[in-house]
Every structure is written in structure tokens, then in C-alpha cells.
Symmetry: C2
Subunit: 349 residues, 2 copies
Amino acid sequence: MIRIAVDGMGGDYAPQVIVDGAVRAANDFDHIEVVLVGQEEALKRELKKHKLTGGKLTVRHASEVVTMEDTPVAAIKKKKDSSIAVCIDLLQKREVDAVVSAGNTGAAVAAATLRLGMLKGVRRPGIAISTPSLQGMSIVMDVGANLNPSANELLHYAIMASVCAKSILKKRNPSVGLLNIGEEECKGTEVIQEAHKLLRDSNLNFIGNIEGRDFFNGKADCIVCDGFVGNVVLKLLESVLETSKILVKRNMQKNPLSYLGAYFMKPAIKSVLEDINYEEAGGAPLLGVDGTVIIGHGISSAKAIRNAIRKAGEFVSTGVNEQIVDVIANLKSSAPTQGQDGKINAGSV
Amino acid sequence: MIRIAVDGMGGDYAPQVIVDGAVRAANDFDHIEVVLVGQEEALKRELKKHKLTGGKLTVRHASEVVTMEDTPVAAIKKKKDSSIAVCIDLLQKREVDAVVSAGNTGAAVAAATLRLGMLKGVRRPGIAISTPSLQGMSIVMDVGANLNPSANELLHYAIMASVCAKSILKKRNPSVGLLNIGEEECKGTEVIQEAHKLLRDSNLNFIGNIEGRDFFNGKADCIVCDGFVGNVVLKLLESVLETSKILVKRNMQKNPLSYLGAYFMKPAIKSVLEDINYEEAGGAPLLGVDGTVIIGHGISSAKAIRNAIRKAGEFVSTGVNEQIVDVIANLKSSAPTQGQDGKINAGSV
């Protein structure tokens, strides 16, 4: 049995959709036990609306709630009994195997960094998402944990993304691209140029700089970037689908015959939609911390929460964290990689 | 007659497509005279392939070529007789009214900044593009001239974008959004948080932070961002169309009846394509320098070059630069806005 703590108070529609998603996960996945963390009264009120048909789900009280307006440091210092802090504490004491939170990302990153500590050799955590391209799935890292990574931190993101691409996407020798404003080595900020050198000299399968257009063509299995641009791109990608639907519909209204066409094209369009449905993924792992933490979107639906819980369960059994430690210990790069400063300077998404 | 200098050697397919595009513009636009700048022999060889049916087109020799690998500073210091340097010189001497270049963006930005100087009150230039949304067009600035803008430079980009939205997109009171990783004021880097305060205290129609998903929904008429994230997003947006076509086609092959549907949907799909055809725009103005400089994509086609030349002609008559100087002179913000350091630190796209 895998035990997963779920932050019941984190997310734009918490606790309603979180409780709904947690019940769905408990009902659907026999091997998962859900520990729902948050204000007991509110959670139990929501639980009454749903039917638990199987599996295990328990409630763990936490008196405080971190809001989206709280800065990460304030959230951690002032709200010691928040739902996210209690989730991370349970993981730190190994009372659970993983944590899922769709709340304030900065607070989750800060709590995880401080309480769980970092994997040996890693300095700063990052969030890795998988995104569909014309060649299959790619990993993008970081998408919001670290807004100003150093060159060395970008190298670490490349390593962590590469391990994920091997373990989870089953790519044999994952290619790594550095997101930049041009293909040439001389392009980009000083940090990006320095990261380019570190990546070139590493034993990763580095294919050089890639650009905005390369998200869709699948040029790289792993796309390395800072958390600011990664977050902007992630949210843009997620909106492409909705926008296309509105645009096609709007233009169809100008020409009624299109409706007939749409009827016949439905299977093709539906298939495209399934390819790029982000709700299926549910959440993204926070990599680099010593434990499994899955970060969900603030706007997560119940289905997304259910899938984030499933993903947390899968992630626990992959051994990704152990592999990251191994690769970093054997790093051929000349750059300093040991040590951790434990500084909280996490971005807040 | 409006005289426009065209950098004949700048662009991934130069000089072929540049000459082709220049001839098309000379033939199509009676009020425009094209001065094609570059290696005379190469340009004349290309010119022989085309028929000049009307309009004026002259060739101006420049012996050197700036490549995509040259850094901006090296390009300016070492290649004083390059096609882009000669173009900018012609504009500085007012022998032409505008410059169009699809070459090394960093070199064009550096040359323009140094030789033309800045508009009074502006410190750093930025590139503004217009992009389609569900509500019409929006302006995004900067998309690659300045990779690390200060908060005050971001305020200036907001002002310049706002003037463009009024003058060119005919929006009465253009809304301004600051691209960030969340809606809350506390989100983002220190520079972004500081820019948020400057924008809030300005007399612009500032609507707060916007996110990646807001590029398509048209939440803001002007989207303000640094040149790194702006460039990545621009190239990503441009690739959406191509990707959608491939995806729909691929999925249609799984279901032959879809072809019938596609036939009927053609008008609707074609209409969508026209809405988001970036080739039509041709190029984007470099705002903040004292003169009209239109930056084209490295991958510009002949059609895009033709349209960039048309755009340069339109821009000359808008009076955008005079309006920018006016607005900045009347700025209510407490931040320092006067002075210019003339530093070349331009990003290179």
C-alpha cells in the first residue's frame, strides 16, 4: 500500500474539488491510501457529499491555510500548522510516501526544500512537466520553482529531466536542449551562455540551443529553462487547445456547411484533443528534494487531482530520486556540484 | 515618396529572398522607393532573376556581412561597412526614411542604438510585435532586444506599446498587462515586482499581472515582458499554426471519412489561418530609437520581406515616435526617466 498525503486546502477550488478528487483516487486505486490534510470540519463536510466505495481515506487535521497571496517565506514562518506544512512533515517522518498539492507552489517548494532537504549534490529543486510534441512526449524543466537559476542549477535540471525521460518516458538516450533565443552558442544571457558550456562539456546527450518553435516539433526530449519562462510557456501551451476550439467554432458560424464537415471530422479532432489533454497528467514532480512531491495546478479539477494522486503513486516506485543522486555523483563537469545552501529563494507560481 | 533601406545580406535566406521581396515591394507600392544595401555583385546577380515592373529600386554597395554568429558588439566594432551598418547610416543622415532588416537582431539593435540615438527619455529600445487574440490584435513588447530589462525599462515598454496600440491598432484606452507567473502582486522576480508598482502608479490603463494563458484570450491590449520570454513566446506562437495542421492531418489519416469533413470545413479553417498568419505582418518595429527600424525574422520569406517594407512605409507616417516622446515627458511616475546611457547591451536574437 502506498500512502499519499493530499493538501486538502490548496488550490483555487479547495477544498471542494480536492476532496472530490481524493475520493475518486481512493475508490479507483486499490494500492493507494489517501491522507487528506486540512481543516477537519471543512473536509468532513465535503466528504459527506461523496461515496467512498473502496480503498482507504483518512483525514488529518491542520488548522491553518496558505493562500495564493502568501509569500513562500511568510507561509512557512507564520503558518506552521498549515495543510501543506503538515503534509510535508508527514513525508519527512516517512508516515506517507508522497505529497500532492495544488496550492501555493512557492510555499510547497519552500516547505519541501527546508523540511525534506535536498538530494545529495543538488542545490535547488525544480518542477518537471511532460508535454506532448509531434514526436511523443518531452520533459520541460523548470516550470516555476526557480525563477533565476544559475548555470550550474540549469545543468542539474538537465540531469534530472534526463533521468525522468529515461525512467518515465522510456527514452533510451534522451536528447537535451537549452531553451534560448537563437541556435548559436553566443545567444542569450550570460547565465544561459555559461549553462551552454556546462551542458556541452557534460556527458548528457546535449543537442544545443532550442527555440520557442521547438516545443511542438519534439526536437529535444528534455527542454531546460528557468522557472519564469517555463511557467509562461506551460500556461500558454495549456491554453492552445481551448483557443483552437473557440476559433474553429467561431469561423464555422460564418459558414453553415462547416457544421456538416465538423460532424465527419469529429473523430480526428477528438483524437487531437486526447493527445494534448493536460488534465490527464494531473501534476508535475518537484525534483531535487529528498522525497516525492507532486505539484498540481491551482486550477486543478477533481479529475486532475485524482490523476495527480495516481502519478504520485507511480513516481514512488520509479526510483528516479536514487538515479538522480547517482548521475550527479558521477558528473564529469568541472563545475562545483556538491553542497547545499538550503536557502529559501523559491519562486511562487 | 518614402525611401526605405533594405538590408540585402541579413536573413537565413539572404540575399535571394530579400532581393525577391524588395522587388515585389517596389513593384507593388508606388509610394515606396527601395534602397537595397549589400554586396553589389551578389545583389545584382539576384536582381537579374526578377522583373522590375514599376516603382524605384536602387542598389547601395556595402562590402561586409554580419552573420548570425557575430556578437552585436563585434559586428559593430569590426564590420563598419556591413549592410546593416550602412542601412543605419543612411537613416541617420536622413537619406532614407526607414530601415528593414531580417539579419542578426542584436547587431541591428546595437547599430540603431549607437548611431541613431534614443528618443528623449527612453533608455533602451525594444521590439514590439502585434499578435492575434480572440479579442483582436494585441501588442507584445519586448520580443528580443533587451534580455534583462530594469523595472523602469519595462515601464517604458508599456508606454511604447500603449502608444502603438492607440495609433496602429486604433484602441481607445489600451489595457496593459505585465507578464508574470501568477496574478498576485507578490509573484515574480524582484524586477517584475518593482515594475508592477511603477505600472500601478502610472497613468496607463494597467490591469495587473497576466499569465501565459492570456496571450490568446486577449485580456490585455499590451503585454509587457523581457526580451527573452517574449522571444520564446513569439516563436512558439508562430509554430502553433503549423503544428495544428500536421496534427489534424495525421489524425485524419486514421479515419478516411474525416477527409469529407475537411472539405466542408475548408472555409472555416482557411479563415482561422488568415487570422494567425504571421507572414502577413512581415516585421516588427524597434521602438525607442530615433528613427524607424523594422526587424524581420531570420527565416523571412520574400512575401514577409515585401510586407515588412510595406509596414515600414506605414510606420513612417504614424508619428508614433513623437507620441512616445510626449507621453514619457509627461510621465507621472516617480521613477527616474530622463537620460540615456547609450550602453550597448542588446540581446541578440
